[in-house]
């Protein structure tokens, strides 16, 4: 063993249709450069040819090695074994398949649901007739290019969708990766399918819960939630396309108005503006059962004294 080599234990959650689920432990020698894909390769080549996993590029490009490593959704090729040991303080690295997708075998999951979400947003440019016929060229301004760049870097690894809570509870939500991809074309000045894209994307955007899980786990720093936020801003121009966007738009507008009016967020008022008086009263009656309604009614909020300055900061024309 070289001086820098260390032994780590790798505990893999395994699955096969015949045997079901079980845990298996392996011991592997690593150095400070060894990626988790390399660890799995050594296990498969030297100890256990029955272990299944996916990996190809070993450099965060192909998107095939998504899995849970010590509980965190990660690309195995971007995870250094000894850094995991440092992070958790344990010599045992726990490896599981990605959450949220059916497991086919060991660390290999079925990504059909992920691909279907991506295809729903038509993930390619729809250029104009003239461009297709070669009569004109595609031109993109540098500032548009730099805005779109980030959202075009997706490698379809599925990690964001696997950890998105809104995907789990809402069939109408497209999920983070599809939204990042969708926004990338929605706001591309060369694309000709704006209306069609807006119809697919706008209502779904209001079904995201802003938990920042996708931002956290994306190995390409795509920040899908930021694309969703940007997509929501199209609601004002395009109009809502369903319940989520129509309530959501009213709610966000009410928040904005409350801040511009008083400098504060008055929860009760925002609620009434979002859901209308009748629905709000019904909610109040429900809350009264627990003695909670008074809390919303009794909001004792002041107005910010520097409200004029605040309005200037919010861009109000002087």
């Amino acid at each position: 063993m070289k001086e820098l080599d260390k032994e780590v234990k790798v505990k893999v959650k395994r699955f096969s249709e015949e045997k079901g689920t079980w845990w298996q432990e392996y011991t592997v020698k690593v150095d400070k450069y060894t990626q988790m894909t390399e660890v799995l390769k050594r296990i498969k080549e030297e100890q256990d040819p029955t272990l299944s996993y996916r990996a190809s590029c070993h450099m965060a490009v192909c998107g095939s090695c998504g899995m849970r490593i010590n509980g965190a959704p990660r690309l195995a090729c971007r995870t250094i074994a000894l850094e995991e040991v440092d992070r958790t303080g344990s010599d045992t690295i726990v490896v599981e398949p990605m959450d949220g997708y059916p497991v086919l075998k060991d660390l290999v999951v079925d990504l059909t649901d992920f691909y279907n979400r991506m295809y729903k947003v038509k993930p390619r440019l729809h250029p104009s007739e003239d461009v297709l016929k070669g009569k004109s060229e595609h031109r993109l301004k540098p500032e548009d290019q730099s805005r779109l760049w980030k959202f075009a870097q997706c490698i379809w690894c599925g990690l964001c969708v696997s950890s998105c809570p809104a995907v789990r509870i809402d069939v109408e939500f497209l999920g983070p990766a599809a939204h990042a991809k969708g926004y990338r074309f929605l706001s591309d000045p060369r694309d000709t399918s704006f209306e069609e894209r807006a119809k697919v994307l706008i209502d779904s955007a209001w079904r995201c819960t802003y938990c920042y899980m996708c931002y956290e786990v994306c190995p390409r720093d795509i920040e899908p939630v930021e694309a969703i936020k940007l997509t929501r801003t199209y609601t004002t121009k395009f109009g809502p396309t369903g319940d989520a966007s129509s309530f959501g738009e009213r709610h966000s507008k009410a928040v904005e108005e409350s801040i511009a009016e008083t400098g504060m967020l008055q929860g009760g008022k925002v609620y009434v503006k979002t859901y209308g008086l009748v629905n709000s009263l019904i909610s109040m009656i429900e809350l009264m059962k627990d003695g909670k309604a008074t809390k919303l009614i009794m909001e004792r909020q002041k107005k910010v004294r520097g409200i004029d300055e605040l309005r200037k900061l919010l861009g109000e024309k002087q």
Binding site: D170, T209, L265, G291, K312, L314
Partner: protein, 290 residues
């Protein structure tokens, strides 16, 4: 220790018990909280998309006041306020185009932000600046036998690069506090999932479903009650819990209280003094802790 204090709209409005308990805990531990003079709303998690420049500008207004107080840490009990301020600073520093726009807007106002001040969560301050030993020493009534689920939610943890206090995939700050007051911390898989509050304005059913997942997760892990670190989690898991119970026809409750409410109880304050909810008080009574 003197720190700037930003309660946030909700802790001044419908979740005032958070403000009350936080002040009591700080006082007990010798932390002086100086409320930021004439602070404004952080945007509540929704303003940044409608007006990114305005969002950054009004958050910097608060932080610039902190700098004028000669302080750097602006402590808040609300994860959304924390997130909003830290994200505003992050974007202001990372995005030169945004910075230019923000600087244009703040010109001729009182806002002068040098980059020194930033928001901090009260939980971080308790652990890092006060320390567990001091907290343990302040415990008068150890909450022995109480099983407390530690619910972190989203915004205090993520994005990790902007929050930077603990590992967003395996946090333990709340568990450390729970253990320090003699209670038993209970971890559960949903402890870092969303409470559903941000969906309440656009997909209420979805929001309540997420809240249910948290309550059920805590219950399945055997907790008596849960603690959380956020004013808006409080609205969702405490105030709105009755709606969750209706929607799922539940015959049980999972009392949700703010982290400093738990601490204050252990420091000897009465349930009334920390404005403890009915259901939580009932649990403590059954356990013989009050």
């Amino acid at each position: 220790m003197k720190l700037a204090y930003y309660p946030g709209c909700t802790a001044h409005g419908s979740a005032v018990e958070i403000d009350v308990a936080t002040r009591k805990v700080a006082q007990t531990l010798g932390v002086e909280l100086k409320e930021v003079e004439d602070w404004n709303c952080c945007g509540g998690g929704f303003l940044d998309e409608r007006d990114p420049v305005g969002h950054a500008a009004i958050n910097l207004r608060n932080l610039s006041k902190v700098e004028k107080m000669g302080l750097e840490k602006m402590v808040t009990p609300c994860s959304v306020c924390l997130h909003s301020h830290r994200l505003a600073v992050h974007k202001y520093e990372e995005d030169p185009v945004l910075k230019e726009e923000v600087d244009k807007r703040t010109q001729g106002t009182t806002v002068q932000y040098s980059g020194k001040a930033n928001a901090e969560h009260i939980v971080w301050v308790l652990l890092r600046d006060v320390g567990l030993e001091k907290i343990k020493a302040a415990v008068k009534k150890p909450l022995v036998g109480l099983k407390v689920a530690t619910y972190y939610g989203c915004q205090m943890l993520r994005p990790g690069e902007v929050m930077g206090f603990e590992d967003p995939h395996s946090p333990h700050s709340l568990a450390d506090l729970v253990a320090a007051v003699g209670a038993t911390p209970v971890t559960f898989p949903a402890m870092t999932y969303c409470c559903g509050f941000p969906l309440m304005g656009s997909n209420e059913k979805g929001g309540l479903r997420l809240a249910y997942n948290i309550m059920k997760g805590a219950r399945d892990a055997g907790a008596d009650l849960l603690i959380h670190p956020c004013s808006l989690c409080h609205l969702q898991l405490d105030v709105t819990q009755v709606k969750v119970r209706d929607m799922f026809s539940l015959d049980w409750t999972m009392p949700a209280i703010y982290a400093t409410q738990l601490l204050a109880l252990a420091f000897g304050f009465s349930p009334e003094e920390v404005q403890l909810g009915r259901n939580a008080a009932e649990v403590l009574r059954q356990k013989g802790l009050i």
